[in-house]
């Protein structure tokens, strides 16, 4: 499966890449919401992992833009934010799943399987 990773932290992008690349194909890494939208259009990934707190454009805004461009986009928020209101905003923007940091490798892979199989 083609995966796009978006996180402003290089450390976190590395961590996610290590977890995901065993089973999936990483097609791009974005550092902010603007880059995420551009890379999404360019690479058309099967699934996009999206951080929320990022400079320039946050992950909820980027998710909103991506789902406007592609209503079938599959987006998993991958964030440290655990606020009900921001989770609801993510759902409104079109997110399909939500993983909270710090995460375990298994929970990331389970989320991917659950979303893609459901």
């Amino acid at each position: 499966m083609d995966v796009l990773i978006t996180d402003d932290s290089g450390f976190m992008r590395d961590l996610l890449r290590e977890i995901l690349e065993e089973e999936h194909n990483i097609v791009g890494e974005a550092e902010n919401g603007v880059e995420a939208v551009e890379l999404y259009q360019q690479e058309q990934p099967d699934i996009a992992f999206m951080d929320i707190v990022m400079p320039i454009k946050d992950g909820i805004e980027a998710t909103d833009e991506i789902t406007d461009l592609d209503p079938d986009a599959t987006i998993v928020m991958c964030t440290s934010v655990e606020q009900a209101e921001q989770m609801k905003d993510s759902i409104k923007a079109g997110a399909d799943g939500y993983i909270t940091k710090p995460f375990q490798k298994e929970s990331v892979l389970e989320e991917v399987n659950s979303i893609t199989s459901g």
Partner: protein, 402 residues
């Protein structure tokens, strides 16, 4: 119980003036030059107050107060301060006379602390004869700070002193723990700036839960077992905040948060702790400097800790609180705080400081301090809106929504 925030500020100012008066007395008696570093009024659980005293030897006086303000005052010198005072006043090797000198110095200093309150209230606050106290840690604390589990409103001053021009800091603390009834009288709302004491307690508990979540996030990411040892909510004059943080060197992150509550969150690791955290996050040889990789790792940890800390507030308030990406800082504590204080000082002269200390379970080798400075008017508004019965809802499971 409703308490008046402006009155609390006034009492904080009185406590500061009282501490000034106390150190002046000490200087006159001993020739030791002194400086009041910090005076604040903190809402703390007895266990958190006790933790601050654990492990150190103290000597001083305990005085019971009656009248308009009832309660207990303790003035405690740490071992170095006690020696400094008694060496000057009783050079001879006479333990009883040394005790007596501490008792008298403590008595004079405490009077200086209390009298301003009495004058402000146009009333009498009677002090009991001083009782000499000596012991380790909690043995010297006021009784009300070791009995029961209700939060305490504690007025604290930390003073540093030096002798003969030599930079030899000595430390003592003045604690005033008023009883609940006299607090109700003294802080009875006179203006529209009252807040509920119960809600302050709830908010303090929520903050402690947030800090515990942050500590657990450190453990998940680094494997270093940590827990929250102290969590307190203080009303502090802005100019005292840099001194509150001190002059040790720290590394950490600064974040601004916005939404229902806005303000700043500062996460500070002492240098060895910061290095330990980064070493466990970035398992490769580094040159001991704070390069891009190390800064990035610390920023991401700060990001995750911040969410752990503030998300509980947002969930209880049914609101959003967003935070900025973390900014890496490496400097002495007071220098890190100064630009933040300058920002807040444009609108306020006091701030609510939420201060949580995270340490390793086994020892104090690893320390991390989390300091939150919410905008005062917004915190007062948020406290007004908090539903006490909703205070347990700090955590949300994404699976319940997705």
């Amino acid at each position: 119980m409703e308490i008046d925030i402006r009155a609390l500020e006034t009492y904080n100012k009185l406590a500061h003036d009282g501490a000034q008066s106390a150190v002046k007395s000490l200087s006159q008696l001993t020739g030791i030059s002194t400086r009041v570093e910090v005076t604040d009024v903190s809402l703390m659980s007895p266990s958190d107050l006790q933790y601050e005293f654990i492990g150190n030897e103290y000597a001083g006086v305990s005085i019971d107060l009656t009248g308009e303000i009832r309660g207990e005052t303790v003035l405690a010198f740490d071992e170095q301060a006690r020696t400094a005072v008694t060496d000057v006043l009783v050079p001879a090797d006479d333990p009883e006379m040394k005790k007596s000198s501490i008792k008298e110095v403590g008595n004079i200093m405490t009077s200086g602390f209390i009298d301003g309150w009495a004058n402000h209230l146009n009333t009498k606050i009677k002090s009991s004869p001083p009782t000499y106290i000596e012991g380790t840690g909690t043995e010297v604390l006021p009784r009300s700070a070791t009995e029961g589990d209700s939060h305490l409103l504690v007025f604290r001053s930390r003073v540093e002193a030096s002798r003969g021009g030599v930079n030899e800091p000595v430390d003592f603390r003045i604690l005033l723990v008023p009883d609940q009834t006299s607090l109700e009288t003294a802080l009875e709302p006179q203006t529209d700036t009252s807040i509920s004491f119960e809600k302050l307690e709830v908010f303090n508990e929520m903050t402690k839960e947030g800090a515990e979540k942050s500590a657990s996030n450190i453990t998940s990411m680094t494997g270093i077992e940590t827990s929250v040892n102290i969590s307190r909510l203080s009303l502090v004059p802005l100019e005292d905040i840099p001194a509150e943080v001190g002059t040790k060197r720290y590394v950490g992150t600064v974040m601004e948060f916005q939404g229902k509550l806005s303000g700043y969150l500062i996460i500070l690791f002492d240098q060895p702790s910061g290095r330990a955290v980064v070493d466990s996050l970035v398992p490769m040889e580094t040159e001991g400097e704070w390069g891009e990789m190390e800064q990035g790792a610390l920023q991401e940890l700060g990001n995750i800790m911040t969410s752990g800390f503030i998300d509980g507030w947002a969930n209880v308030l049914n609101a959003e609180i967003k935070h900025s990406p973390p900014k890496f800082v490496a400097d002495i504590g007071s220098s890190i705080m100064s630009p933040i204080i300058a920002q807040i000082a444009q609108t306020d002269d006091h701030a609510f400081l939420l201060d949580s200390s995270i340490e390793t379970d086994s020892d104090r080798v690893f320390t991390c301090q989390m300091l939150a400075l919410p905008r005062r008017d917004e915190l007062e508004e948020a406290l007004d809106e908090i539903l006490v019965e909703n205070s347990g809802n700090t955590e949300v499971d994404p699976n319940d929504l997705f």
